[in-house]
């Protein structure tokens, strides 16, 4: 068992239409909205990821990819089924929420602590993160002054440098300018060489997936359509999307 990093079993996640409402509505809720329409985003998905493996996830928009990642990251409770993760998990996705008013440097500390690292460790890695993010002087300015590119760069740097055991990447490889993309790509490759690091990537960039992934999972309408060797699945997916 110890060589499996993620085990997902019969996972189902619903989006009940839990919209927020007014007091008036919530008082009436008992009578009216009991049978709220349920959207099942992930339907009975089971798979597991070996330690050190790189798994790609593809699928159309709305097929449940990001939901699946969020569930693995522990942000969503599964409605049924189980997810076992062995090790620290971090989710890297576009526009990770930083606190707007505080500086980049402080946000690094906060993110580090939220991921479960000690303040000492975060401090130790600080310089490396700042260097990788290429933010220069901006690191000591409030995050609200950042451009969207800087935002994503900082996100990438934090999650890439802080070494969590399991890394979940949501469409984040295409951030920054050309140069930063190359840099982040090679950083990804480097991480992949690390046999202890498990990575799950959600992406539409097929070429990236081809180069990085060991296996690919094809999600279609919340169900696994196929899972297998990268090239095989990707070819089929391309055919499917083309038709």
């Amino acid at each position: 068992m110890s060589d499996k990093a993620i085990v997902v079993k019969d996972l189902c996640i619903d989006y009940r239409n839990l919209s927020n409402m007014s007091i008036h509505q919530s008082l009436q809720m008992g009578k009216t909205i009991k049978k709220a329409d349920v959207v099942r985003a992930v339907k009975g998905v089971s798979f597991d990821v070996q330690k050190g493996e790189i798994l790609g996830i593809i699928g159309r928009n709305g097929s449940g990819k990001s939901t699946l990642l969020k569930a693995i990251a522990g942000i969503f409770q599964p409605d049924s089924g189980t997810i076992d993760t062995h090790g620290q998990v971090s989710l890297m996705s576009i526009g990770v929420g930083f606190k707007q008013e505080i500086t980049g440097r402080e946000n690094i500390m906060i993110s580090g602590m939220l991921l479960g690292f000690s303040p000492e460790y975060a401090k130790e890695k600080m310089d490396e993160i700042i260097e990788f993010s290429e933010l220069g002087d901006f690191i000591d300015r409030p995050v609200r002054t950042y451009s969207s590119g800087m935002y994503s760069k900082l996100t990438f740097a934090i999650t890439a440098v802080l070494e969590t055991d399991i890394l979940l990447v949501d469409e984040v490889l295409s951030v920054g300018d050309e140069r930063f993309q190359k840099k982040s790509f090679s950083k990804m490759q480097e991480m992949i060489l690390d046999a202890n690091r498990t990575v799950v990537i959600v992406s539409h960039a097929l070429n990236t997936l081809r180069e990085l992934c060991d296996r690919v999972l094809w999600l279609h309408d919340g169900e696994i359509r196929k899972i297998g060797p990268t090239n095989e699945i990707l070819d089929e997916y391309v055919d499917f999307m083309g038709s």
Binding site: Y15, R16, L18, S19, N20, M21, S22, I23, S26, K70, A73, G74, I75, F76, Q77, S90, L91, S93, V96, G97, F98, K99, Q100, E101, I102, T103, E106, M109, I110, S111, M113, L114, L115, G116, S118, P119, P142
Partner: protein
């Protein structure tokens, strides 16, 4: 319970750091800012002092500290409760990206307001020394009152936090309630002696903030001990509120993401 303890331990540094950096951010935005933490209650105190020493002709001893000390406690409670209602929404960035026990956000805000409170309490101390307020062993109940107040705030906060996620206009309703509570908490008058006979003493006991403020103030200024049975009851109520709040949050926190 054990989970709660572990989570507090695990996220304690985050709480502290987040509170500190938020404070720093507030300061960074303007020159006067940290002075505002003192100025705000201080100015409010002057307003109430001016109005009520003229209208009510209060003959209370140390009337100015009488108002100020109560105002500090009230401000802390008020700010945290209001914050708790919109806290999940305000921290959307964090909540949607990483798992964090949601009451930690409230705790962090309480630390932030606690630091401000601490500064104001130092000012209060200066006032007291300046006005030669005598102090005896009953001052201990000042701290007891504050501890119960912290618990009560946390309990209310966690419960409001949960409902605040789902109910959009809860903020308005609570604001009105808080406003009423403010006037019924005897910040600038003594409830028991000012209000008509049965009502005054009922409110002074049944309104937790009125009771806590009064106990705190009596210990601080008039060397008297509070009603210990009542203090015990409110302590218990607060603990129960905390337990309910934390339990609700643990149960539902993962559905918050789907709403905000």
């Amino acid at each position: 319970m054990k989970r709660f303890y572990n989570d507090i331990k695990k996220y304690w540094y985050f709480c502290r750091y987040s509170a500190k950096s938020d404070l720093k951010a507030e300061v960074a935005n303007s020159y006067l800012n940290w002075i505002w933490w003192i100025l705000e209650p201080l100015c409010n105190m002057l307003v109430y002092y001016f109005i009520f020493s003229n209208i009510l002709k209060s003959s209370k001893e140390y009337y100015i500290i009488f108002i100020y000390s109560a105002l500090l406690m009230w401000t802390f409670f008020n700010k945290n409760v209001i914050y708790s209602i919109k806290s999940i929404r305000m921290n959307k960035g964090i909540v949607t990206k990483v798992y964090v026990p949601k009451f930690i956000l409230l705790l962090s805000n309480m630390i932030l307001n606690g630091i401000k409170l601490g500064i104001s309490l130092l000012i209060l101390q200066v006032f007291m020394i300046f006005m030669h307020v005598p102090v005896n062993g009953n001052i201990l109940y000042f701290f007891v009152s504050y501890i119960v107040m912290f618990l009560f705030t946390f309990g209310c906060g966690t419960i409001f936090m949960h409902f605040g996620v789902f109910i959009d206009d809860l903020g308005y309703a609570i604001a009105i309630l808080l406003n009423m509570m403010f006037y019924l908490s005897g910040i600038f008058y003594d409830i028991e002696t000012t209000m008509a006979a049965p009502l005054g003493s009922i409110i002074a006991r049944a309104n937790p903030m009125a009771f806590l403020i009064n106990s705190m103030r009596n210990a601080l200024l008039y060397e008297t001990a509070p009603d210990l049975t009542l203090m015990g009851i409110w302590f218990l109520v607060s603990v129960i509120l905390c337990a309910i709040g934390v339990r609700i949050i643990y149960k539902y926190e993962n559905s918050y993401v789907k709403v905000v």
